[in-house]
Each structure stands twice: as C-alpha cells, then as structure tokens.
C-alpha cells in the first residue's frame, strides 16, 4: 500500500487546491521561461526567415539590427557578382506607426525587391508581393485581414498576404513592402535637413539607399571567405548569418534576456520556498501519524518515501496545471511564449529538483519526530 497516495486520496480536495495554487505560481515561472525563449526566437525570426548566408552593411557598423546602416542601392549588384554568391537582395528596415482599420499599430516595415532575397519565407494566407506598388504583406500579429487598407507616411497600402511569427526583436510585427516604397517611406521619415539635402541633389541626395544587402551563397561557398572578400571593399562590412544571429541574441536583446532570466530565477526561488513551506506544513499535519508509524516499527525509508512522494506528486500536479494553463493562454500574451519539449522538460526537471530539495527540511523534521509522541493524549 502506498501511504503517500492514500493520504492524497483522503485529502484530494485540499491536494488539488494546493496543486492549482502552486500551478499558478509555476505558470508564471514557466511563462517567463517561454517569454525568455520567445525574445530570442523573435530576435532570430526575421534572420532565419530570410535564409541569408551573408549580411553586407555599412562599413564600421554591425547593422542593420544592432546599429543603423545605410549603403547605396547599387551595392546589391556588386554583392551579387562576388564569387560564391548565388543571389543577393537589398533590404530596408524602419520602425514606424501605421494607421490600420483597428487603430494605430507600431510595426517594423521591411522593404525588399520581390523575386530577390529579403521577402518572407512563407505566406500564411493570400500571396506574396507582386509587381504592383503599395502592396503589403503583414504578419498576423498586426491583426490585419487580407484586403485591409492601411496608411503609412501618408500613403495607402493594401494587405495582400499575411505571415505568421515574423516580428522584430522588440516584438513589433513585421510588414513587407516593395523596396522602392520603403525607400520613399524612409525619406519621408528622415529629418528635415536630410530631406533638404536630397532635394538639393547633393552627393547624399539619392534616396536609392538600403540598410543591408543579404546574400545567399552557393552550396560549396565558404561564408567566411565570401565575407572576407566583401570586407575588403573599404566602405562595407560583412557578417555571416552565424555572426548576425550571435549579435542579435547577445547584443540586441541581451538586456531583455538577462532581465527575464533573472526574473525567472527569482520566481523559481520563490516557488522553491513556497513548495518547501507547503511540504513542511503537510508533513507537520501528519505528526501524530508519523509518530505512530515510527512506534509500530516503520523504517525510515517509509517515512522518507511518504514525504518525498507527496512532494513530487504535489510538484507534478502543480506543474501539470501550470503547463496546461500556459499552453492554453500563451496566445493571449503580447509577446511570443516559446515553449517546446526541451523547455518544458527542463522546467519539469527544475521543479522536481526543487521538490526534492524543498522536502529535505520536512524529511529531517519527520525523522526527528519521536515515536513517544504517538502515546498519550
């Protein structure tokens, strides 16, 4: 007979209530882990979707995400001619607000040339950009329907397609427009002095500038070798996709990542203390029963098993409730809650460890209960 299960069965209502309470606490911790992973996933979402092997940006910068970068539009053709480059596309990136049917939405506008690298890898509904200007493909996070008309910088765009899971590192949904539209938008959003310089037709007067050129390499090309070739051009920097990914996670979202990580650790610590207190209270509630067990000759392993199994079952019930809650509610969160098997398994391991550590104090207290406490009134 399993004493831990029998006790739980006897006090099922209290056990379930405690499990749900713990589950709420664990749900906060689990969602923090998911948001932590989501921040990283979101930071890398665009980079991964573009499937770029090489990022060519302004010399001396680490753009276009970590720093601003501006290079002439004709760099794309030069990059495309580099040995080992299979295809290249110019892109622009700018964060702005747009007037949508449901109100003002903050988005990151990405300009690219249809048919060249820079567009979304997959379209969830509708179609990709065609040859017509003022079309837009928006991420589902923007909440726009196909055919919706939005206004950016005074220009009206029609939504022709949607994507899923493409957001900027700050969590803003991405919208894709023609490169030319995006360049005009950047000009409109530029400071007045810059606009006057363009109007005057000076050296920097062209609006044919882009923020980066992304390149896809031939299967046999060495990304570092091609990047080295690109860097030798004095006015350009080049990052491989691995370097760009490292930059995104270690620089662009680093503070948010560390902040979330620390908050998660604090939450787990609080959970550990609360779990330990609950287990201790549950154990002390059975003081007379434990004393009786010891008096009738129960070995220590029976007492330890009773406390430890209940701790693990409570932790398991709480974690199951937490997982169900977070998975049911994760679409409600404004940022991605990225939880996979690895994160859930790791969290389950941490909760298990917390339960074991949290039960140590209770086990020690239970083993110190004198059998004589079973005697007398």
């Amino acid at each position: 007979m399993n004493l831990a299960l029998a006790d739980i069965r006897h006090n099922l209502g209290r056990f379930l209530m405690t499990g749900v309470g713990l589950g709420l606490l664990m749900a906060v911790a689990l969602s923090m882990v998911g948001i932590y992973q989501g921040v990283v996933a979101e930071a890398l979402a665009l980079s991964r979707s573009l499937r770029a092997d090489l990022w060519v940006v302004e010399e001396g910068t680490r753009g276009p995400f970590a720093e601003s970068s501006r290079i002439p539009g004709d760099v794309r053709a030069m990059v495309a001619r580099l040995p080992g480059v299979a295809d290249a596309g110019a892109i622009t990136l700018s964060t702005t607000e747009m007037q949508a049917p449901q109100g003002i939405i903050r988005v990151q506008v990405m300009g690219y040339e249809p048919g060249r690298p820079g567009g979304p890898a997959a379209i969830a509904s509708g179609r990709a950009l065609g040859g017509v200007r003022r079309e837009m493909v928006a991420d589902a996070r923007a909440g726009l329907r196909l055919g919706a008309v939005v206004t950016i910088g005074g220009d009206r765009y029609r939504v022709v397609g949607t994507t899923r899971g493409l957001v900027a590192s700050g969590g803003d949904p991405l919208v894709f427009v023609h490169l030319r539209d995006a360049q005009e938008l950047q000009f409109k959003l530029a400071p007045a002095a810059a606009r006057r310089a363009v109007a005057a037709g000076g050296a920097a007067g062209s609006i044919d500038t882009v923020n980066a050129v992304i390149a896809r390499l031939s299967p046999d090309a060495d990304p570092d070798g091609v990047a080295g070739t690109a860097r030798r051009w004095k006015h350009l920097s080049a990052l491989t996709d691995a370097e760009q990914s490292a930059l995104l996670t270690r620089s662009v979202v680093n503070r948010a990542r560390v902040q979330l990580g620390m908050f998660t650790v604090v939450l787990l610590f609080v959970s550990a203390v609360i779990i330990a207190l609950i287990i201790y209270t549950m154990t002390m509630d059975k003081l007379r029963e434990i004393a009786t067990l010891k008096l009738i000759g129960a070995p220590d392993r029976t007492i330890v098993g009773l406390v430890l199994q209940q701790a693990l079952l409570l932790g398991g019930a709480g974690f199951a409730a937490a997982t169900a809650l977070v998975f049911a509610a994760r679409d409600v969160f404004p940022r991605t809650v990225a939880l996979g098997v690895a994160e859930v398994s790791a969290m389950a391991g941490v909760i298990g460890l917390i339960c074991i550590l949290g039960s140590l104090v209770s086990i020690r207290a239970a083993l110190r209960i004198e059998p004589a406490q079973a005697l007398g009134g």
């Binding site: 009786t292 000759g297 079973a374 005697l375």
Partner: protein, 232 residues
C-alpha cells in the same frame, strides 16, 4: 516459563546534576504470557515513562529489560534494531486509537504486516480475519472517521495483533469510551491475551475497568507502591 515482559531494577533519570529528575526507581515487574496487567498511579508517578521503556522508545538509565526472554537493555548492551523489535514483537494500542485517517480499517490492520514485509494480499487476508475475530468485519472498508469510538478501538486492537506480537502495550485504551464499551474492549484484551498467549500491559486511570486485570500495579513517585491480584 520466563515472563514475556521482565523489568529488573529499572531506573530512569532525566537530566543531570541538580536538575535531574528521577522518573523510575528500581522498578521490578514481570508479565507472564496470557496475563493482563494494569498500571495505575497519579500524574507524574512514572506510568508513561515505564510504558516508553517497555515499548523500547526510552532507554533506561540502569537495570535490565527483557522481552520474550531476550535482553533488550542491560546497561551495557542494547538491541541494535529497536524499530524491528517493536514491529515484530510488540503491539500498541493507544488512547485515541491512532488509526491512520487516510487508510480504511483493513488497510490500517494490514499496515504493520506490510511494514514487516508480508505480501500485501496475505496481509489483507489476515487483516480481514482479525477484524472478523474482533467482530468488526462488517466495517472492514470503513475509514476511521466513519467508525465509532468503540469500533475504532477494536480496529486498533486488530492492528496491534497483526504481526502476532507476544507483548501488547496499551496506553489508556478506554479513556475515550463509555463504561459499556470500555468493558467490551477490556474483555477483548483478556481474550487476546488468553488466545494468543500474549502479555498485555495497560496504563489506565479508568477505575471502572480495574476489575478486568489479572494484576494491578500501582506506581507512585517512580516506584512500585502496590501490586494487587484482581480477576480470577
């Protein structure tokens, strides 16, 4: 035949120096197989200390304790695994029955047997037999909270008999029962002592059951003050 419970000049002192309290002084006591012995005395007379010593949960300061002919303590020697000794040789009956509230009557009775390594099926079968023997078989599936005081105490007696102990210790087993049920419980203990040839030692204040003992031992200030033979 040697007594099943034998105390020889057992003393117990708590603390040391000026704060030392002498709870038992040179107590000699023997309980034979089939005998039911009562232990009475005012509060602080040493009843609980004596019961704890016989229950092997308190080590005497001096003297010898033998259970079923085996030396448990003698001042220099002590049996290593006292918990096993309690599990296999001693049955306990408590004032408030101390049934585990999360086990039903059968499971409570089977518990000491499963702790001793008996096959669960066999333990349950014997638990049912014991409950029938104590005329409480119809309540075998009841949880302790559903049992009356008398029923719970019968289940507790069944649990005490589970591993066929030679020694049964009872701490105020009738304190929570009315006169009629108290007499029934004492008659059951007498029946158990006789049928199983066990030595039964009962601590009690309950005067209405004094006539149910073979002998009544009165303690005062840690010493045996008087021994009276009672039931025929």
């Amino acid at each position: 035949m040697a007594p099943l419970v034998q105390l020889e000049a057992v003393s117990k002192v708590f603390g040391t120096g000026e704060t030392a309290v002498r709870a038992l002084t040179e107590v000699d006591l023997a309980v034979e197989a089939g005998e039911v012995v009562g232990l009475k005395g005012p509060s602080g007379s040493g009843k609980s200390t004596l019961l704890n010593v016989v229950a092997c949960i308190l080590e005497p300061s001096s003297g010898r304790l033998l259970l079923d002919g085996q030396v448990v303590w003698d001042g220099r020697y002590r049996i290593g695994d006292l918990r096993r000794l309690r599990r296999e040789r001693i049955g306990f009956i408590f004032q408030f029955h101390n049934l585990l509230p999360f086990l039903d009557a059968t499971e409570n009775v089977a518990l000491p047997m499963t702790l001793a390594g008996t096959d669960p099926g066999a333990a349950r079968a014997r638990a049912r037999e014991l409950l029938d023997y104590l005329q409480i078989g119809r309540r075998a599936s009841a949880m302790p909270s559903r049992l009356s005081g008398g029923e719970a105490q019968r289940v507790a007696i069944a649990r005490a008999l589970a591993n066929r102990p030679r020694v049964i210790l009872a701490d105020e087993p009738t304190a929570a029962l009315d006169s009629e049920r108290a007499r029934v419980v004492m008659d059951l203990l007498r029946q158990v002592a006789r049928d199983q040839q066990a030595a039964v030692l009962v601590v009690t204040h309950d005067e209405k059951i004094f006539d149910r003992f073979d002998r009544m031992v009165a303690l005062r200030d840690g010493r045996v003050e008087q021994v009276e033979a009672r039931a025929a």
